[in-house]
């Protein structure tokens, strides 16, 4: 059953929230040991919530648009009284004293939270191998990574543990794992979804978004979590999205530009498999009536370099708060400053230390202009190039990730190779624009490929039109 079929089936009495939940808990029981999608399965809380929803439905009340749908939450989103670790030892045992805004919205909509999913520590990575609690495996091939950093959420949906999941995307952390696990993943416009209660990594880039098995399910979830929140000063003062008409509208007459630089042009390393699927996606959109042509967005070539200065710079500041004073474990020492060094050294993993140091260096006296200042200017170039492209095109298109899912351990020794996984996705974060990954075709290894649909700020509606057409065409093929 798709996520969007669950609420009406419960309201009609065809099933119950309890029954739906037990089916998913059973799936978790069968395969979680092998996959490790979760840091925590919230069996008891989920059962209580399902009972509450069934009681409401039995009284003829509507528990909301997500009635009884099980959902998995990335473990960098605060849940009151429930451990929130960011897959880091430095938050081991911490129980947030408040809920993130989206957690309240999900509960108010009748969703049933089944657990907190694994991630690369503090969302820094592209394979979920940087988790302090061990890697997540790709449910489609357990010798491969699920992508990252929201690998646990992507794997939870791909393995049938939950039909919906929440992730966060700072440089591709929703879209790339969605591509590698063969599910739909959406990074909304910056500010579309409240970040209140999302543990900060790079505040000018972070955005929460949905994972789902289908484009329609992703739309349903995004509608619920979007909309203004006074608790997040960067929240856009707009009502929640209504994407219902986008799903059936088609792409007739839409102008779509394929970003040449990311599609076999200037940037190397995009596999032939992936480029083949992109060609098929272009054909599918053309057949559906869109006008598709190659176009240049030149500064996307520089996105990776700018991102790997800006994101660590913001992270080095955001992660200064983990000092053993107010929350998390402490390593005792004679003085406060020794205690802080000991706590941070024991609590952070290598990738987090690497990025904190990279960001600290890029912001330090003598290097600020050469790295951070320059990267901020490149960010302007990228925004200008996108603005030019959207004068001519309604949407842009590219691969989501350079390759299909790669083997565990493949890139852990070479951070730069891992960073290159984000090459197609990070420009949308730098610009603050929405983008989504839709499964389209498979590589010669039989693993799924994701196609990325990019839209201008606030235009999720047009993006979902193309997403729905790609999905329908992909299902027609298989």
């Amino acid at each position: 059953m798709n996520a969007r079929e669950i609420p009406s089936a419960i309201r009609n009495g065809e099933t119950t929230a309890k029954e739906v939940l037990e089916t998913h808990l059973k799936a978790i029981q069968n395969r979680e040991e092998e996959i490790h999608a979760f840091n925590l399965v919230m069996e008891e809380e989920a059962r209580n919530e399902a009972e509450r929803i069934d009681a409401l439905a039995a009284k003829g009340e509507d528990p909301g648009p997500l009635t009884g749908i099980p959902i998995a939450i990335k473990d960098n989103i605060c849940t009151q009284g429930v451990p929130t670790t960011c897959s880091s030892k430095i938050l081991d045992g911490w129980r947030p004293p408040y809920d993130a805004t989206i957690i309240e919205r999900l509960r108010d909509a009748g969703a049933v939270i089944v657990g907190k999913t694994n991630l690369d520590e503090f969302a820094m990575g592209a394979s979920t191998e940087n988790s302090a609690f061990g890697p997540t495996r790709n449910p489609l091939d357990t010798t491969r990574v699920p992508g990252g950093s929201s690998g646990g959420s992507a794997a939870a949906v791909a393995a049938g543990f939950a039909p919906l999941a929440i992730g966060s995307d700072t440089g591709g952390s929703i879209r790339q794992p969605a591509a590698l696990c063969g599910v739909v993943g959406v990074k909304p416009t910056y500010g579309r979804v409240s970040r209140y209660g999302l543990v900060a990594f790079a505040s000018s880039l972070d955005q929460i978004g949905p994972f789902a098995e289908t484009v329609a399910d992703a739309a349903l979830l995004l509608e619920v979590i979007s909309g203004h929140d006074p608790l997040d000063t960067t929240s856009i003062p707009e009502p929640p999205l209504d994407l219902s008409t986008a799903l059936t509208q088609g792409v007739e007459g839409l102008r779509i530009g394929v970003i040449d630089e990311l599609s076999g042009g200037a940037i190397e390393g995009i596999s032939d498999d992936v480029l083949g699927c992109l060609e098929d996606a272009v054909q599918a959109l053309t057949s559906a009536g869109a006008i598709v042509e190659r176009t240049s967005v030149p500064s996307t070539v520089y996105g990776l370099s700018a991102y790997y200065v800006i994101a660590p710079a913001e992270a080095s500041s955001n992660l200064a708060r983990y000092d053993g004073v107010r929350f998390g474990p402490r390593v005792d020492a004679k003085t406060t400053s020794e205690m802080m060094v000991a706590t941070r050294t024991a609590g952070f993993g290598d990738e987090v230390k690497r990025r904190i140091m990279l960001g600290t260096y890029a912001l330090s006296a003598g290097y600020y202009d050469a790295y951070y200042g320059k990267s901020q200017k490149v960010r302007t170039l990228i925004m200008n190039d996108f603005a030019n492209a959207y004068k001519k095109y309604d949407l842009l298109l590219s691969p989501t990730a350079p390759t299909t899912a790669f083997p565990l351990g493949d890139k852990t020794e070479d951070p730069l190779q891992m960073y290159l996984q984000d090459i197609c996705t990070i420009s949308s974060n730098l610009a603050g624009h929405p983008a989504m990954s839709v499964p389209f075709g498979k590589g010669t290894d039989g693993l799924p490929v994701g196609i990325q649909v990019l839209a201008s700020a606030m235009d999720e509606h047009t993006m979902f039109r193309a997403g729905a057409v790609l999905e329908a065409s992909n299902q027609g093929k298989s």
Binding site: A333, R344, F348
Partner: protein, 100 residues
């Protein structure tokens, strides 16, 4: 190893970031950070003199809400998260003077 960042630079940055590194870690981080900074050197080719920097994707302005009393943080809940507490305050080891 290239010259983008030296071992001494990395040691200095680690101190600024309140991290302690072993000798082996210093070696590996130096080489990895140098690789990353070397990749970022492709930006050197760009003509950026006339370009304004962007710090944020949105045109941010200060947001003020109405000054009305609402729910406040629960002191007990926040103190319960801390490793050490005394008299309703966070407690840390000595910050000044000789710790003996």
């Amino acid at each position: 190893m290239n010259e983008r960042i030296s071992r001494d630079d990395v040691a200095h940055v680690a101190r600024l970031a309140c991290l302690s590194l072993t000798d082996d870690e210093l070696d590996s981080f130096t080489s990895q950070l140098a690789d990353i900074l070397e990749h970022a050197a492709d930006l050197d080719a760009l003509e950026l003199e006339e370009i304004e920097p962007t710090a944020h994707p949105l045109p941010l302005a200060n947001v003020l809400r109405d000054d009305e009393p609402g729910a406040v943080a629960d002191r007990e809940a926040f103190l319960a998260s801390a490793p050490q507490v005394e008299n309703n305050q966070f407690k840390v080891p000595p910050a000044l003077g000789d710790p003996s």
